[in-house]
């Protein structure tokens, strides 16, 4: 925080926005100084996304004032906000998949020569921006849609910086990045801070906030709660501000399962397309087994292979002691096999967004709810009501569109949908990514309860605390195979990290899988 920093660069007062009957924002205020990083905290549904959209010109507030550099401003379109010097890196990327990286970076502010686009200069600017964000490996002529998500996110950041904004807003901008990328982005953000940029940072990852933020503001239920300097509140206190009730960061106690009898799921020598190599694993009923390791070592593909979504899978899979050929998700979910997969991308792979909450919840179990092809509405309603109560899904009735729910509640709908099929084995692909703290807790409790009822749970997570807190055992993936199995006293963050990096130390047990 430099001298003369008393007057905030960006000041927002009394902003309100309603969507029909839902109050998205009510009389919120916010201010951010130049040369500082200001974290914006709040659960999903707290109004952060709406607030960001107002600042970046995507939606218009009904009431309120925005003052930028001492001048009142209003942004009827995103172009106007960009023109005024506010650049936003959206959680849902604003990239054009068919256009090249260079096109995307320059699209808002093209470089011209004789009236036409100067592709050489644009390419040079793209290369500069990419180098700045640590994406030198990204080729400017590559079509953006073909890049992996982590590279796309870097391009999105490069694009936001290309206009040399005065205010930079990052909305969960690091969620798909590898740890190395995140480190580079953080260095960049700190550099931009010393250069005088005002940065608004939204993230659910407390350690990121702790490292970056100078100040923090909390929103809850569309209202402004408090602003405080970073480091002056404990993590638990912050979470309590966000969820408005008492909170403890402890995980539900582990069951101490004994692994005996026929495993619910037994995998032997599973391989696929060079990405999965000779994986063997057993999961017993009532066990919660975690998949750990660095991003991209095959964990997601392993779960997809178990669920029948991959072609050309080799090896054997046994469900409840009987060999199974799982050719499609439809087969996987059949009562004989009883598998369920909570997918990675809930918006595209887990929900039918234009449809109602009711329709989404009953989809997987539709056969059990219908007789001779007709859906039994009464049975459906009874089961759904019970489910919604059990999962505490907050929605405007069951007949509202599921797209209107917050991320956490949407994830509960996805889980609820699969619970209705009464699965034997539940697979989860990074289920708490981008979910607020309160809902995460509920999901952990739910998984623990499922295990107690005898369901086998196999669960990939990028969060070490989660793996340690929720799982009986953790299989570390490295290069498409299980390199190490950790359990009991060995299951510590240090060992997780070490195993993920495939470091070996004296006296450790070699990778003995099915044991």
């Amino acid at each position: 925080m430099g001298e003369g920093a008393s007057d905030p660069l960006l000041r927002v007062e009394g902003v309100s926005k309603h969507y029909g009957g839902v109050r998205a924002l009510e009389d919120v205020r916010f201010s951010c100084r130049a040369g500082s990083i200001h974290a914006l905290l709040g659960e999903n549904g707290a109004g952060k996304s709406t607030f960001i959209k107002i600042l970046s010109g995507v939606v218009q507030p009904e009431r309120g004032r925005i003052v930028l550099g001492g001048m009142p401003v209003s942004f009827p379109t995103p172009a106007a906000a960009a023109e005024a010097g506010i650049s936003c890196i959206f959680q849902e990327l604003s990239l054009l998949p068919d256009l090249t990286v260079a096109d995307n970076i320059n699209i808002a502010d093209p470089l011209r020569r004789l009236g036409l686009i100067d592709r050489t200069q644009e390419r040079r600017r793209a290369e500069q921006m990419l180098a700045r964000v640590g994406g030198e490996d990204i080729h400017p002529a590559a079509p953006v849609g073909q890049l992996p998500l982590s590279r796309q996110q870097l391009v999105e950041i490069a694009k936001a910086l290309a206009r040399r904004p005065k205010v930079l807003i990052l909305d969960e901008a690091t969620s798909a990045l590898t740890a190395a990328d995140v480190a580079k982005v953080f260095t960049l953000l700190k550099q931009l801070r010393t250069e005088g940029m005002a940065i608004v940072y939204i993230s659910h990852r407390m350690h990121e906030i702790a490292e970056l933020a100078d100040e923090c503001t909390v929103f809850r239920n569309g209202r402004y709660i408090e602003t405080f300097a970073a480091g002056t509140r404990s993590d638990d206190a912050i979470v309590e501000m966000m969820i408005g009730r008492e909170y403890s960061s402890a995980f539900p106690p582990l069951g101490g399962t004994r692994r005996e009898g026929t495993p619910a799921l037994a995998v032997r020598n599973l391989s696929w397309a060079g990405e999965l190599n000779d994986i063997s694993l057993e999961v017993h009923p009532g066990e919660v087994v975690g998949l750990g390791g660095l991003d991209g070592q095959g964990q997601r593909q392993f779960l997809l292979a178990l669920f029948g979504a991959l072609i050309g899978v080799e090896g054997t899979i046994e469900v409840a002691g009987r060999p199974a050929k799982i050719g499609s998700p439809r087969q996987a979910k059949s009562p004989q096999l009883g598998l369920a997969l909570i997918p990675e991308d809930r918006k595209n792979e887990g929900l039918m967004l234009p449809m109602t909450v009711r329709e989404n919840l009953s989809f997987a179990a539709l056969e059990t709810l219908s007789r001779f092809g007709r859906i039994d509405r009464k049975a459906e309603a009874e089961q759904l009501d019970a489910l919604v109560r059990q999962l505490a899904i907050k929605s405007d009735g069951l007949d509202g569109p599921v797209a209107a729910l917050s991320g956490g509640n949407q994830q509960k709908v996805v889980i609820g949908k699969w619970l209705m099929t009464r699965p034997r084995i539940v697979l989860l692909n990074d289920p708490t990514r981008g979910i607020d703290v309160g809902t995460k807790q509920e999901i952990y409790l739910l998984l623990r309860r499922l295990a107690q009822q005898g369901t086998a749970v196999l669960f990939y997570s990028t969060d070490y605390d989660e793996l340690i807190g929720c799982c009986d055992r953790v299989a570390i993936f490295y290069d498409g195979t299980i390199s190490r199995m950790l359990q009991g006293a060995e299951l510590t963050e240090r060992n997780l990290v070490g195993a993920a990096l495939n470091l070996s130390s004296a006296g450790e047990r070699p990778a003995s899988n099915a044991a």
Binding site: E83, F90, L95, L96, D98, I107, L116, I117, K159
Partner: protein, 332 residues
């Protein structure tokens, strides 16, 4: 990455982007070679000229269709703008050289106007392009019919001759297509509005969040479509020395332009492709008809054969599906 390596990757990306157009060009080259070989007199100047003239008409209408499709829309009225400008040309592109030139300008302006009307309705009326252009196609046909209730009219003989002859074996219609590509398409493609059109077709929502001028991009696209269709109408008048408002012909050209565009590798979802591919796609479709004549196959079967070629060309694009290993990729 070494500088040499980067340049090498650059070429590979550029090549991959043009895949559709190159495939269409290759198909056309093969078909035309077969056609030429089967001619009793070989590839004489006359043979090439006739083939070029017929193909150029569809090529121009296909170019017209391509631009709105790039924005993720569709223009069902291109065939009727083609008819309207044909009828108009048969009325005003006559007389002294000065009158002729003014007439040509008038025809092109009419095409631009029709395209602009389409654009205004789609952008400000917020109607789906399919519906909007379906409606305007009826209007344009009505105007064409009003201009030429009976087939007739005339066109300046020198101008017509210039447009339909061959000079040193190069048909003027081919020169016209090349000129349209180089003088109209390429500057457009390299302009901000041209890139904006691709952006809108790729993801209109992302384009909006990126501050792309969506309204202007769409307006420009539909207007340009009108211009290309008008050039086609002019060429038709030169070939037939008359104007005729035939609904079936206009409808045929519209549908065939969509087929030509698909064969040429432009995506109907928008965001990728270009007019060069559509030009080759149009020539592929026309050559099929010629090949049928050469091999003495009943001309009634022509639509069937064109359909088969269309299916084949589209399937080529789907071949990559066979290599899919993760079923989720099929649905992305």
């Amino acid at each position: 990455m070494t500088v040499g390596g980067a340049r090498d990757r650059n070429w590979r990306y550029r090549l991959a982007a043009q895949r559709g157009a190159l495939a269409a060009a290759a198909i056309f080259a093969i078909m035309f070679a077969v056609y030429g070989a089967a001619q009793p007199t070989g590839l004489s100047s006359d043979v090439v000229n006739t083939a070029a003239n017929k193909g150029a008409l569809l090529a121009l209408v296909a170019m017209a269709q391509t631009v709105p499709v790039l924005t993720g829309g569709l223009d069902l009225s291109v065939g009727m703008i083609f008819m309207l400008t044909n009828c108009l040309a048969s009325v005003i592109v006559t007389g002294s050289p000065v009158m002729t030139i003014l007439g040509i300008a008038g025809v092109l302006a009419a095409g631009l106007a029709c395209g602009l009307v389409n654009g205004l309705i789609v952008v400000y009326g917020r109607l789906q392009p399919l519906i909007a252009t379906l409606a305007t196609s009826a209007i344009y046909f009505g105007i064409a019919l009003a201009l030429r209730p009976q087939p007739g009219g005339d066109v300046n003989g020198d101008f017509a001759d210039l447009m339909t002859r061959s000079t040193y074996g190069v048909p003027s219609s081919v020169v016209l297509i090349v000129a349209a590509v180089v003088l109209i398409w390429m500057p457009y493609r390299n302009s901000t509005l041209g890139r904006a059109a691709y952006a809108v077709g790729s993801s209109e929502q992302a384009a909006y969040m990126s501050g792309v001028p969506i309204a202007r991009a769409k307006l420009c696209a539909y207007t340009l479509a009108g211009l290309f269709a008008a050039v086609g109408g002019l060429l038709l008048t030169c070939l037939t020395y008359s104007g005729e408002a035939r609904a079936a012909l206009g409808g045929d050209y519209t549908l065939n332009s969509i087929a030509a565009l698909v064969i040429g590798g432009t995506s109907l979802f928008g965001g990728s492709g270009g007019v060069v591919g559509s030009v080759f796609g149009a020539f592929v479709m026309r050559t099929v008809g010629d090949l049928l004549v050469v091999f003495n196959i009943n001309p009634v079967l022509q639509p069937l054969f064109v359909g088969v070629v269309l299916l084949f060309a589209v399937s080529l694009g789907s071949l990559r599906l066979l290599r899919v290993r993760n079923k989720l990729d099929l649905y992305r």
